[in-house]
Symmetry: C2
Subunit: 310 residues, 2 copies
């Protein structure tokens, strides 16, 4: 068997309280891995999938990573090339951590690396987006862009795509807890009213502006004051067991802010430093532990790398 | 008669397309002037008002500038001090240019100058806000803060007050046209639905974030792409004669963005430089001229001073 390359695409937190469907940041772990290598048999094939409890399809066009990879190969006129991919799915599906985005990013990124980088990293976005669309039903860069590019990214507009980097103050740390209950993005979306009050929209907009100012000015307290979701969180909190208890524990332990990660059920916090993030993470974990709900805790700086070659 | 001091507080553009009830910037002209001097007769009196077609009251507590001045004097324990104020109202009322805010700012600022600056400029905000509340019926810093402090200011929250400066790229120029039709803020507010669509709120929030990024990064094109009001402008445009014709003329002439100033009827544009702003201003003026609607045009850099002592 020929030697291949191995890539990693990280989990990401979308929405980030102030930027529903727009803002997202990457964390260091967990993430999806793909191994890709050339093969004598023409065409792209998925030869191995681990994780995801055997739920993911091997058909390239039905698989998020496979489709992203295929679309990139087609763009490059290399779809006849014999390539094998192994997908090691380490991100839980339906966790609110950008699982499908990470797979799609890993798929496109792996192909680009295997082919010796015909495209710039940023140019891979459209292909990863097409892969992710398979899972979410629409083009949404809020998880895909940070998983690929790292850091915190604001998607101003999906079509045509307009993504902008938000600078991240040094030391800003995330603590993210994933309780083991599954929420389908579809259900989390269906629960949302298609109207919001003008008052909420005003507050949300002002908080977004202030949050970005805080990120640029390294004003940790402003980041904390701004990091509020008055629009979506009140509607979705009920889908997540003990959401308000976890949030209260996190805020008491010193989090700058705490809200739902993506469509949930994961809950994220941003914190002024790693020590606080550790304490906040433990406080959140204890709430689920005491309630006998299984959970995974991820404490991580903002991941400024995004997808990487191992 | 004793010699006094003379102050100026500028007009301001609130909402700025992306920040309804939150964002505002000051322009250089027009603005309100106040002359203040000590008097042997105890207490604060308004002795002269010019402009505003004789509509403004001389009773201190009924006058926006008077009340702001009085509240500051009370705070300082100086309400017995004999002080005369002349108000030269040069800003049209109901124009959408922060007329009442400028008066309130001038009132508080004049007293602070006359008393040799017992407070920092920023500390005058609460008093100016109380004056402006008389006109608008609620505490709103979106015009008051830029008129006092200059530049572009985001009001994250009115109570407790949280205002943040947004940096302004050098050369950014406003062209603002005021058609001579009166819109009462109250009517402009009543026309608004108290609900907005989630989709609009998402776009508005993303545009606010991107606009702030553009201002920090000096990314003129991003500022232009972001400067869109999908939430309020479609509802209020019908109150303003020829709004869409003016906007089209402005955009064709090269404006970065064009929307309603405050509650209207004034229409503002932001522009990459003064030459473009002049052209844009003339294009807007021509629409009203051709339609035989009287208008005033103001072409100005963002005013970074705010209220000043003449």
């Amino acid at each position: 068997m020929r030697s291949g390359i191995k890539v990693f695409a990280p989990a990401s937190v979308a929405n980030v309280a102030v930027g529903f469907d727009a803002l997202g940041f990457a964390i260091e772990k967990p993430g999806d891995e793909i191994i890709a290598r050339f093969s004598d048999k023409p065409g792209l094939r998925i030869t191995k999938i681990t994780g995801a409890k055997g739920k993911l399809p091997y058909e390239v066009e039905q698989n998020t990573a496979g489709l992203a990879a295929l679309r990139l190969l087609q763009h490059l006129g290399e779809e006849g090339r014999g390539i094998e991919m192994e997908l090691h799915k380490k991100l839980p599906i339906g966790s609110g951590l950008g699982s499908s985005a990470a797979s799609a990013v890993a798929g496109a990124f792996a192909i680009n690396e295997l082919l010796k980088r015909p495209l710039e990293k940023r140019e891979l976005l459209p292909f990863a987006l097409q892969g992710e669309e398979l899972a979410s039903g629409s083009i949404h860069a809020d998880n895909v862009a940070p998983s690929l590019l790292g850091g915190m990214i604001l998607t101003r507009q999906n079509e045509p795509l307009d993504v902008q980097r938000v600078p991240v103050p040094y030391g800003l740390y995330a603590a993210v807890i994933h309780p083991e209950v599954q929420i389908l993005t579809k259900d989390a979306r269906n629960i949302l009213s298609d109207q919001v009050s003008l008052k909420q929209a005003i507050q949300q907009t002002a908080n977004m502006g202030a949050f970005v100012i805080g990120m640029f000015k390294l004003d940790i307290e402003l980041i904390g004051r701004s990091l509020q979701d008055v629009m979506i969180e009140p509607q979705r909190a009920k889908l997540i067991p003990l959401f308000y208890e976890v949030k209260e524990a996190a805020m008491k332990a010193g989090a700058l802010g705490c809200s739902i990660s993506g469509a949930g059920p994961s809950i994220f916090t941003l914190n002024a430093n790693s020590l606080i993030a550790e304490n906040v993470g433990e406080a959140m974990r204890k709430v689920y532990f005491d309630a006998k709900i299984e959970s995974q805790l991820y404490v991580s700086p903002i991941n400024n790398e995004g997808a990487i070659l191992y």
